[in-house]
Amino acid sequence: MERVLDIQSLRKSFGNNEVLKNINFSVDKGEVVCIIGSSGSGKSTLLRCINLLEKPDGGKIIYNGRNILESNINVYEYRTRLGMVFQQFNLFNNLNVLNNCTVGQIKVLGRSREEAEEIAMKYLKVVGMDKYINAKPRQLSGGQKQRVAIARALAMEPDVMLFDEPTSALDPEMVGEVLKVMKELAEMGLTMLVVTHEMGFAKEVSDRVVFMDKGVIAEEGEPEQIFNNPIQERTREFLRSTLQAV
Amino acid sequence: GGGNASTGEEESDVFRVGLEAGYPPFNWTQQDDSNGAVPIDGTSEYAGGYDVEIAKRIAEGLGKELVIVKIEWDGLLPALESGKIDAIIAGMSPTAERAKAIDFTDNYYKSDLVMVVRKGSQYENATSLKDFAGAKITAQLNTFHYEVIDQIEGVIKETAMDNFPAMRVALESGMIDGYVSERPEAISAMAANENFVMVEFTDGGFETSDDDTAVAVGLKKGSPLREKINEILGQISEEERQDIMDQAIKNQPAADN
């Protein structure tokens, strides 16, 4: 199977706080990998490093065979291949819902306005926000914002989607719908890297689960193995507290 | 101390005179009291020049202490009207328009008009107004200097300028060919900058009225000081005035550069 992303010895600190310590893992084409772990373990930081929003302190990020941390890489083109959904929505405040989903297509991918709007409407329907195309971000509820953010990322039709807790602000009804979309995308061959707190989702959809703890990957494996037979004590502990909470 | 020494209308033992302290040889600013300069109110500097010498004589005659207040030209009239100063002695001509707003004493100096041009230019040796046909000429804003330019036939009358330094720069840079001025200013300009020459009109100059070429002391309308000051000015003879002016031209700060 083709390897899309290969993370090698990735390190990142903020001041005296070592957030990522020697991270190694890879994602194959078409794979859905879920990252779980407690708050502050570095999951968001890992995703941001992969997208180069954060500059790693060391290590390699190999995308389709090339280390994108090398200087001769076109970062902008690389980023269009990655779709990113943020924990905090980050919709463009100056644009309405429709234009949030078209601006990247038109300005970065060079699509025509018509084509871009058609594609945008397609994904806005998927997330159930097609009625709100005239709304400005500040007029939307949290859940509505996140759904638009997902549509915006999908509209770029990227190779790999990075989700940073995409459903944490969604209501359960919507979680189901978005899940369905994500499954469809997975079947179409889309590679996905999903930080999530939704254990049900991780269990059902992912090909592989990565458990992060205090800046390291403590354990990884197939969902059945991680959820039913975790090897590490800390994984067991995390899952125990998680599952009993719900 | 600031201007709080002002006491408005009431009788006081000081004589406050407003001037720009930047128009030699009539008035200028210097840093010590040499050559009889007088301290400027509220600063550590001194004012000297022809106006200051006249002001000293008037104050003496009035039996009051002279206080020099340094105010920009535009502020002189409101300062006088609002009682911040008692008199304007700033090389001001008693034009008819001005006389509507304030009173003037008798003249304390009279000069004539000349033209300041660049040395080596075609106008250096001009003798009459006719020689300035086709020349770019300007003068200071709000002076009759600017109006008399119209007497030159075929002249290119440029926009009036706010102050002499700007006109001098314009002349030096070639943007204008000359500016109209009064003899004392022109002498100062020549003394200070070897690129300037004064053209005196030996062959027919500007027609002017006495009001325009003379300078007088400005007073508030109906001021009781007017007669007294006229009396004092009457005691200064024409020769003495010329002496004071010669002395002022000699003493002005630019002269020792």
Partner: protein, 242 residues
């Protein structure tokens, strides 16, 4: 001050006032727009993130130093001196004789640009980091994110400060008199110089100034409101099939 006099002075001199006001408004409108463009461009360049390649880093450093020097110099020195140096200096040193009006526009634009650059810097700082990140994440270059996402938001926030610049320019054109541009202030000065009625003549001028600045600030306020868009949005009819 007498109102009878004010009326008389206005009737005697209105063509002068009007011509002066016309010149003032033309110079300040053009220059504020040009200055704002300069300020925005500098803001965009200044926020370019540090590049990985050494060569680009050095170029950027040099460009930023030039911009800083520009801002410091033109903010830091009196416009009257700039006007003299640019207009007469270019004639003295290079024998370039600029058209007075062109010189005026250049001087005021360059000056406004220096102030606007700082205002824009403040405006960019106040935009949420997430906006930059989301723009980067969809592959926008620095310039694309700036022009499509950040600057539209910045412009909204700095409109009041830009209106200030406008108003300042309307009044600051007065120093252009040293290069022989006859705008409103200069005209008023001529009028007072003639009639010696300071308060009355300037009362009229103040009225004209107020009219100009008031009109301009109203226009910009209206613009602010339009940029904000409607308070509420309308739902689009629910068409289930396309």
């Amino acid at each position: 001050m007498s109102f009878q006099l004010v009326k008389e002075i206005f009737l005697d001199n209105w063509p002068m006032y009007l011509r002066g006001a016309g010149m003032t408004i033309v110079i300040s409108v053009i220059s504020t727009i040009l200055g704002a463009i300069i300020g925005l461009l500098i803001g965009v360049v200044r926020t370019i993130p540090e590049s990985a390649t050494r060569g680009k880093r050095v170029i950027l450093k040099v460009v930023n130093t030039i911009f800083s020097a520009y801002v410091e110099y033109f903010r830091g020195t009196p416009m009257i001196v700039q006007a003299m140096v640019i207009y007469y200096g270019s004639a003295l040193l290079f024998d370039i004789h600029l058209n007075r009006f062109v010189a005026a526009i250049i001087i005021v634009s360059i000056n406004t640009g220096a102030y606007m650059a700082e205002i824009v810097r403040g405006g960019i700082t106040s935009i949420d980091e997430g906006q930059f990140e989301a723009a980067s994440a969809i592959g926008m270059t620095h310039f694309q994110s700036m022009f499509n996402i950040i600057l539209p938001q910045v412009i909204r926030n700095i409109l009041p400060a830009t209106a200030n610049e406008f108003v300042i320019n309307i009044k600051d054109t007065s120093v252009l008199n040293v290069i022989g541009v006859t705008e409103l202030f200069f005209q008023t000065k001529s009028i007072t110089g003639n009639n010696f009625k300071f308060f009355e003549s300037y009362f009229i001028a103040s009225g004209i100034y107020l009219l100009m600045t008031f009109t301009i600030t109203r226009i910009l306020r209206h613009f602010e409101k339009r940029l904000d868009g409607p308070q509420n949005y309308d739902l689009v009819g629910n068409q289930m099939q396309v």
